[in-house]
Symmetry: D2
Subunit: 309 residues, 4 copies
Amino acid sequence: MAIHHFQPTHYHTAIGSHPPVLHIASGDSVVTTTVDAWGKDSSDTEVTQRGNPQTGPFYVDGAEPSDTLMVVLDRISPNRSIGYSRTVVAPNVVDPVFVRELPDSGVADWRIDNQSGTATLLKEDTRLGSLRIPLAPMLGCFGVAPSKAQAISTDTSAEHGGNMDYRGFIAGVTVFFPVFVPGALLHVGDGHAAQGDGEIVGTGIEISMEVQFTVRLIKGKRIRWPRGENDKYILTVGNARPLDQAVQHATTEMLRWLSEDYGLDTVSASILLGQSVEYDLGNVFDPAYTMVCKLPKVLLPAPLTTPAS
Amino acid sequence: MAIHHFQPTHYHTAIGSHPPVLHIASGDSVVTTTVDAWGKDSSDTEVTQRGNPQTGPFYVDGAEPSDTLMVVLDRISPNRSIGYSRTVVAPNVVDPVFVRELPDSGVADWRIDNQSGTATLLKEDTRLGSLRIPLAPMLGCFGVAPSKAQAISTDTSAEHGGNMDYRGFIAGVTVFFPVFVPGALLHVGDGHAAQGDGEIVGTGIEISMEVQFTVRLIKGKRIRWPRGENDKYILTVGNARPLDQAVQHATTEMLRWLSEDYGLDTVSASILLGQSVEYDLGNVFDPAYTMVCKLPKVLLPAPLTTPAS
Amino acid sequence: MAIHHFQPTHYHTAIGSHPPVLHIASGDSVVTTTVDAWGKDSSDTEVTQRGNPQTGPFYVDGAEPSDTLMVVLDRISPNRSIGYSRTVVAPNVVDPVFVRELPDSGVADWRIDNQSGTATLLKEDTRLGSLRIPLAPMLGCFGVAPSKAQAISTDTSAEHGGNMDYRGFIAGVTVFFPVFVPGALLHVGDGHAAQGDGEIVGTGIEISMEVQFTVRLIKGKRIRWPRGENDKYILTVGNARPLDQAVQHATTEMLRWLSEDYGLDTVSASILLGQSVEYDLGNVFDPAYTMVCKLPKVLLPAPLTTPAS
Amino acid sequence: MAIHHFQPTHYHTAIGSHPPVLHIASGDSVVTTTVDAWGKDSSDTEVTQRGNPQTGPFYVDGAEPSDTLMVVLDRISPNRSIGYSRTVVAPNVVDPVFVRELPDSGVADWRIDNQSGTATLLKEDTRLGSLRIPLAPMLGCFGVAPSKAQAISTDTSAEHGGNMDYRGFIAGVTVFFPVFVPGALLHVGDGHAAQGDGEIVGTGIEISMEVQFTVRLIKGKRIRWPRGENDKYILTVGNARPLDQAVQHATTEMLRWLSEDYGLDTVSASILLGQSVEYDLGNVFDPAYTMVCKLPKVLLPAPLTTPAS
């Protein structure tokens, strides 16, 4: 149950089987920092290349393929006062004929105030004035080393997690990843002070973060796609294009979960999901899009067994 | 400002330029009934063929192509105590290899109680017991006659509305449709006592309804896709496959709306949407899927002009 | 076995259950004309509205739902010397970011010479010079009235055929349509003097045609999607978006065909198709895209029974 | 202009920046062997793990990012007499509801005869008898190391090539790859004795090969997607899902090629492609699907400059 403080010195723009920066045990916590999507740290200095550079990987002792890694996002806190967003919706989220209406994208600055919990637009040439929106700090890109000796760009996402850009990945949420390699090799990065669904301008409000997380290993538990849990919901994540396929991955994973842990056969699970499921949209910007399938916990039957510890 | 009471005698399973059942004026309200998706009325008697049969069409006097028809959903109230849902998720919402795990779909009965506002599962062979979920009555399929002398099956949806199966279309919501033909020719039907996102079992809890709505004509206002408004959000609807294209339609329509009515150029609208937009999933069951783009009203700038009246 | 000569006086831009212009019997042939996609006739005069106006519908006596209508395309012959094409690829066939590179589309004229069998570009401001390509006259849009009292725009396609824009629909080809309504109600139109795969500029070389076709009714034979046959191949057609779904429709229909008419179980059909199937691309411009699944006849086993007569 | 003979001792199932097995110069040829998709060599012995194991990588001296690597496929020749295919179409190529009709896939053996140029089915329990089809040996999976330190599974494909499963990649064809890393790092593998379009059973006739290829470096020439050339066509390759996006990538790359090397502005290129382009379907089985855009060489204008040498 140690708490490790780790200060990164280098970063990765592909999630893969890189040499670990730290070995940790199941139950341990890590306090660390992440740079923003453009490689800028807490002093707004570019310290590494662009592209959602990742802190890590962290080697979880004892993790082996076909285990599940549980990651509690304890804290995700902007550690500087300036954030950046792009300013034009991505060509792929508007009708093809409408793309001609899109100007080139610039960058908007936002002042981030952890005290008041707000992000304030610092851009004078729009009709938005000093637009102020609530902070909702999240991690856009994080995950574990993928299978088959792959190294997958932090531009995209897959079964291992990666660049999902789901605004639901905030502090307090638990995320479950399938383990594909010894040690799991957890990477974290790409913090957003806030973000709309879909990350439709190609960014959230990009910012460096102080991050604390706690890992727990669930031995012998095999999952196929990232799962998660917050106060109100259990959730599953599908990453693919088109979105239709992301829906398929997330829904199938939810059906598996309801079967394995709650004993719901397909008919029971279908009746329940059919009238109660909710879907959230992760990014529709990256090579793989993200869809999240959620079920309110209040509707869940008793689990078959006590949760793994 | 008349209130018309209309009792349907026949129904349509394609939305098109059928002879109108009633002429109404801008500002008028209609109180009517709809049968359920299987053609069953308030006495649970099959009175017409299956397939989301529609009540109407209602001819709005003065409506012409390139106007907009505003429809306030005043009341959507189940008028019987039994509802039906399918019991197995649709093959198209799970991974192709997982389809083999799906049994044949049956029908589950639900007891609908308007007093307590609940739907209770009446099916004894599941692990769900007497699952009880909150009522959230909505219209699954409604819209106006399409362009080009088309008659579009109530199985699907397009610019004219149709079978969107969006659980956000509840009482209190205002919906805007583009007008394609003289009189607009509004059709309504396919009530659901409740429904999960995506209508992933191919049905909500299908039930007959008493429906009251009020129309208002916005002359000379041209929109491309259905729009809507509730207490907290303005919203736009895209209907297409894949979902990626539904996202494009809805997002483009929102950009048009923000430009036309709120004077937001593409950069201003993009900055606002990028960090604040929300997307809801309508159906992922029908030939065309449905995605809804929403923006919190609290973030909107002052409109350019007073709304059309 | 009559040969009817029919001169159209009006046209339809939705394929549906319109009043028939002519009753014909199984075995009969019809010689008629079609206007081009922009409603221009053999004298290059605009005689009807734009949008692939259809000649017909022709009522085939005795045709009933669940029959199959066989249509032999006997002759498709340009009946004027000028054809038109658009000049810029459609925004939906290039990368979204590349759309900004596309200029507005104009119209290019082509001189059509039936004698030499060539189309010659008449446009002096390109680097193509007097580009000359072989004539390959085809029908872009034709089909039968759809089910459920639908009228489907000639902009798109579905199970009933419609705007498939498949360059393989040339003279000599036999096409099979499912019959959805009494009389089948065959429509024909949208001739192209030539066309590339995909109809990626949104047009072929659009031209009015003299068309001759022969119908034959196959009673009690139920198919789901258009099928066809030429000297070398049997083929099936899927119309949908995304293309992935069009592939699914066409492939499934081919598996059904091989089972029903050639007695191939799924394994036999799969082994055969797996190493021998060919796919052709119809349009990728319309709301529904088109994919054609083809199998060389030389590889077919003996049919179970003699073909219907 | 050396000819290297290289006998592999190990293989890779991800294409990435692995240590090179051989350094070669522009103009050099390599004669080597590939194992089949299941890791079996010319003696039908499993010598490595399954999953399209690759021979290589080959380091091309002087190759740097933003160069183009030209690879001439001189010879692709089965080096054993037994090949294998799967026996059931993949669930993702049929309608979702039809998946239930699919039995489990087995393996079919084929006798490969280089003398007669045929593959003969060795399976007695089908209606196909001793089905015999022509040999058309091709490489299913080959490519160069991708950008950003990625290692991409040989299950899929992207800008770097990979598992495209395009039956057009036969002996005599020239393929061009973008270079992303020093030395380009060419990998080759996954030979098929024959294959239908789409690789719809998930395999061609999988077999080990003797392969000879010649590389040539085109310095300073930057392309985005694989390109190719055979006797009759120039072609471009797009790899993505859905197929619609693969069409976009391939078409955009063709427009760039016609602009850069043939001086065709977008209008000229569009007119030409619109009436003459052809598309071939690579795989519709892998995570990324493949579409090939082809233009007949006979229609090309004179190139702007002599080809790079």
